[in-house]
Symmetry: C2
Subunit: 188 residues, 2 copies
DNA sequence: ATCTTATGCAAGCAATTACTTGCACTAAGA
DNA sequence: TCTTAGTGCAAGTAATTGCTTGCATAAGAT
């Protein structure tokens, strides 16, 4: 299959291996094999392992569901969309967000690839800022609101995905949003 | 310094390196150097890298603040203690919880070391179960409640710890607990 | 048809890594 | 005091890993 490799499936293999083993844990050999591309080609095209990862991360995180979110006037609908977008992203790429947070600071060579990642985060923050301004949710540092909403989803999916706890049910978006808006306390 | 190495500082070095680079990313050389112990000694005592990690994880997670929590009749006090215990644990060892969730399933050799880890999780779950039974918080699968409470803390600390976002303020325990109990919505 | 360019293939290189071994030494226990 | 178990040190091994190179080949552009 000469004259142009399938970059999409290559990048997919990169992300998959990255999620499975971490940056240091995965090898260019394995990635090449999984993608059906010769290892030498990887270095000719991307120069280095870091270069390959930079391109792959940047490319794969560009058209993730999280990237297309925009705030509307309907808080409930926005929360649903946001939750679903995160869940879908997680199903596509695993815990990319957390891996990025953990590893990007430690591998500066890959850091430049975080552009789309930051855009996604900023995208999510913007939604909460918008609803704060319209007095639909409590006013507080938006990062706090974001983590309050995304943190539970991310944590739940990671535990579910780890396989350590068998028979974990699907994440209940409805219940989460209600808890997020109305709280979990029963006394007043 | 012969006749017995300082196991405590050795295990501390193991955890620190693990957090910094992941299991595959950190080397026995670096750990030995950081702990002031000869590398050969590590293999004579623990047999392998995995053996060393198993012992280190099991030992270090035993007397973490999370391990001593017990439910009381005061929901608010329990939530404060839980949050503080998680934050303290994070300050001591970084995101051990997440690293464990991510990596333990992939390295079965280390899996046996997760004993104390599970005990800690179970400990946290028990607190919510207790308050659910006394009708102080909404009744739902306790894992959902746990992630709803811990998820935001963990996520916030990880982002703060990543250094990607400069000037992130301290985590506001008070605000988090209020949001957890009363919700963040302003409409009814 | 021809020239160029990207690829596959095979072999290999230098560095790293988990792990080993033999030896000298030092402290603790008898 | 003398034995002994645990350690440091230095050197080394086999395997892995990021990365390179020379060569043949198969498309795309002209």
């Amino acid at each position: 299959m000469p004259k142009k490799i399938d970059e999409t499936s290559l990048f997919k293999a990169v992300i998959a291996d990255w999620m499975a083993r971490g940056y240091a844990g995965c090898t260019t050999r394995d990635i090449a094999k999984a993608a059906g591309v010769n290892e030498a080609t990887l270095f000719r095209r991307y120069g280095s392992k870091a270069g390959l990862f930079a391109r792959a991360i940047d490319h794969q995180l560009a058209d993730v569901p999280l990237a297309t979110l925009t705030p509307s006037d309907d808080l409930n609908a926005d929360l649903h969309r946001l939750a679903q977008a995160y869940i879908t992203t997680f199903k596509m790429h695993g815990d990319v967000v957390f891996r990025t947070i953990q590893e990007i600071p430690r591998y500066p060579e890959v850091r430049e690839a975080a552009g789309n990642f930051f855009r996604n985060i900023q995208n999510m923050v913007q939604i909460f800022v918008s609803h704060q301004q319209q007095n639909r949710i409590r006013s507080e540092p938006p990062l706090l609101t974001l983590t309050a909403f995304i943190g539970p989803i991310a944590t739940y999916l990671m535990i579910q995905n780890s396989g350590l706890n068998p028979g974990v049910p699907e994440f209940d978006v409805e219940a989460h949003i209600e808890g997020f808006l109305m709280g979990r306390g029963l006394e007043r």
